[in-house]
Structures are given as structure tokens and as C-alpha cells.
């Protein structure tokens, strides 16, 4: 038996599972699903605000991912890739449900370095409700940037909007959260 190797020979489990799923191994794909389902569903639920739609979107996300898996570059992040799919699916479902969405010009974008800290601690259910009540565009940008940690550029790309628009939506989200929660959002 070969002795333990240094880190450069460490097996990347997710990549190994992706590789196996690419060959048609649905058990490997199920492991990937189990690993990522919570974050994908959380994203879909927050974007659609509807449990049934979110379940549909989550299923659609993983089915689309299964179909596209051979094209997935293992050097990139699987979670980011899944989130991109989930955003696309959720936007499409939402568009279908209410075809006309609000738009926002990108000139008013100013929220470059927000940490999204709250002056006074707020209960989770309260803040979730406040996020839930945000307009679609502002909520989408907020979820991807403040909750999922994507940069303005990444969030804008996922949402198919200009970076400035994304910043403007975040600015709007901050203002609305401040009004609703009655605390400063810094």
C-alpha cells in the first residue's frame, strides 16, 4: 500500500462526485443534491416567496444541472454554478407568474461597501419578513450580495442586469429595510 501522500494528491470529493455523475451515476448526483439542496432551495424560496414555486424551482435547477453537468468546468465552484441555474429558473418562473417586473435605472447606485450590519440587533423572523416584503429587484440583489456573499459584478451577472443597476437595487433595499426595521443598516 502506498503511504499517505501530501495535499497535492488529496482527492476532491465534490469533483469526484461530479465526475461520477457525469458518467450517469445518479447516486453520486444525489449526494451532490443533498449537499447543495438547502442553499439552492433557500435562494429559490427567497426569490419566489412561494413554497410550491420554490420546490419546483429547486427540482428544475437540479434537473437542468444533471443535463448540463458534462459541460460543467470542475475548476469553477459547483455551488456558484448551481446558484446561477437557480436564479435563472426562479426569474423565469416569476416572470411567468407576473410578466411585468419593476425596473430601476443604474444611475442611483451608491451602495459600494455595505456590510449590512444593523444598528440594533433584530429577530431573524423580523428581518426575513422585511426582506420578503422588498420589491423583486431589490430583494434579488440583496439576497445574492448580502446573504450569499456574491460581489456586485457576480450578482449582476446572475440577474442579467448591469452592475450599476445591481448597486441601485441594493441601495433601494437598504433604504426600505431601514424604514421597515426602524434601525440603521450600515
Amino acid at each position: 500500500m502506498t503511504q499517505a501522500q501530501p495535499d497535492d494528491t488529496r482527492v476532491d470529493w465534490e469533483a469526484a462526485l461530479v465526475q461520477r455523475a457525469c458518467t450517469g451515476d445518479s447516486r453520486a448526483f444525489e449526494r451532490l443534491y443533498r449537499e447543495h439542496a438547502g442553499r439552492v432551495y433557500g435562494l429559490c424560496l427567497r426569490m419566489t416567496r412561494d413554497v410550491q414555486l420554490a420546490e419546483d424551482c429547486t427540482q428544475e435547477t437540479f434537473i437542468n444541472a444533471w443535463r448540463a453537468l458534462p459541460r460543467f468546468e470542475t475548476r469553477s465552484s459547483l455551488s456558484t454554478w448551481l446558484h446561477r441555474i437557480a436564479v435563472n429558473v426562479s426569474l423565469a418562473k416569476r416572470r411567468k407568474a407576473s410578466p411585468v417586473g419593476p425596473s430601476l435605472d443604474d444611475e442611483e447606485g451608491t451602495s459600494d461597501a455595505l456590510e449590512w450590519t444593523l444598528e440594533t440587533p433584530v429577530e431573524v423572523r423580523e428581518i426575513e419578513a422585511a426582506i420578503d416584503a422588498l420589491p423583486d429587484g431589490a430583494r434579488d440583489a440583496l439576497i445574492l450580495h448580502a446573504l450569499y456573499g456574491y460581489s456586485h459584478v457576480e450578482a449582476a451577472q446572475m440577474l442579467g442586469v448591469a452592475e450599476g443597476t445591481c448597486k441601485a437595487q441594493l441601495h433601494r433595499a437598504r433604504k426600505l429595510l431601514r424604514e421597515r426595521l426602524h434601525v440603521e443598516v450600515g
Binding site: 448526483f29 439542496a37 420546490e55 427540482q59 444593523l118 431573524v124 423572523r125
Partner: protein, 192 residues
């Protein structure tokens, strides 16, 4: 969204992005995947595209039959206790011979005999294949060998890891599948 969560947070970053669905969504996903698989080919890695379609189709037919027969004959014999499947056998052997992992994963003499027989004629069989197919087979076997080595190394660090054990067994199955493909594809008149 998080129900009656009364925990207080002072930053949005403290909110968990993950929300577990109220029900398991996998069964429906799996059903859709299986339904698609029954009407279309499963997703394949990019490397398979370079193989000539005619040979690929023939190999697919041969492989599906050969692997099924081989697994039924060598890995899951009805008369043998379930404990002798590669995964469970490997677990048993860890306690007996923890320093001989490479041997522990191939405990079945029939597997060893079949593999030895296939390896013995491999070079001659490879010579009978079209050059592009031969190159693909050799690349596949090399990749499998590397995967086996990596997995064995990792198991040396974490011998009880069930996922590793499963992946290693899968690589042995992959190797046998390739060897059987080569054997059958270069001698189509031979029965299994």
C-alpha cells in the same frame, strides 16, 4: 421564511442562506432523471465524443451486457453471503490487515482471476482496435489507475470513509468494464 426564529442578528450575513425544504425533493428529481435516461443517452463526459459513433454504439451494447453479466457473476453471486461484496469485504479486511489496503479491496479470487485473464490478452486485444479507440482505452485505464492510487492514498488517511470505499469499488468496476469492453469489442463473435 425561517418560521418562528426569535434569535437576534446584528448583520444580514448572520442569516443562514440555506433553508431545508419541508419535504424531500430528491425522489421527484430522480424520477425525472430516470425518465429522461430511458428516452435519451445519459450525460457523458466530453472525452467520449471523440470515439467513432459506430464503435461507441457497439461498445455500449457490449458493455451493458458484459458488465451486467460480470457483476452478476463476480460481484454479487446469489450463493455467496452479502458480506463479501467489495465494500463490506474491504471493511472486514481493514480490521484484519489494515496495512494492506490494496489487497483488501480485491478479496474475491474470481475477480482477480477474471481481471488477470483480461489483462493477459489486453495488449493483443488493444492491437485489434482502431487507433483512436485504442488511445481512448489506454487513456481511460491510465485515469482509472490514477484514481485508484489517489483513493488508496486517501483511504490510508481515513480508512473508515464509506464514500471513499464506494468510489474505490466504483473504480474497480470501471476498470473491469473497460477491460471487458476491449475484450468483447475485439472479438465480437465470442459469447459472454
Amino acid at each position: 421564511m425561517s418560521g418562528a426564529d426569535e434569535r437576534k442578528v446584528s448583520s444580514l450575513r448572520e442569516l443562514s442562506p440555506a433553508i431545508e425544504p419541508a419535504r424531500d425533493l430528491w425522489p421527484q428529481i430522480e424520477a425525472r432523471i430516470n425518465a429522461e435516461r430511458s428516452t435519451a443517452a445519459p450525460p457523458r463526459p466530453a472525452r467520449a465524443r471523440a470515439v467513432p459513433p459506430r464503435w461507441l454504439a457497439a461498445a455500449a451494447v457490449v458493455a451493458s451486457v458484459a458488465v451486467g453479466v460480470w457483476i452478476g457473476r463476480s460481484l454479487l453471486p446469489a450463493a455467496r453471503p452479502a458480506a463479501q461484496s467489495p465494500i463490506s469485504a474491504s471493511r472486514a479486511n481493514f480490521t484484519d490487515a489494515p496495512t494492506a489496503l490494496d489487497v483488501a479491496y480485491v478479496p474475491d479470487p474470481r475477480y482477480q482471476r477474471d481481471r488477470a485473464a483480461l489483462m493477459k490478452t489486453l495488449q493483443a486485444r488493444l492491437a485489434a482496435l482502431p487507433p483512436p479507440a485504442r488511445a481512448k482505452v489506454m487513456a481511460s485505464l491510465a485515469a482509472i489507475q490514477r484514481a485508484k492510487q489517489d483513493l488508496q492514498n486517501a483511504l490510508g488517511k481515513d480508512p473508515g470513509n464509506a464514500l471513499l470505499q464506494e468510489l474505490l469499488v466504483n473504480t474497480y468496476q470501471d476498470e473491469m468494464r473497460v477491460l471487458t469492453d476491449v475484450h468483447e469489442a475485439s472479438d465480437p463473435g465470442r459469447g459472454i
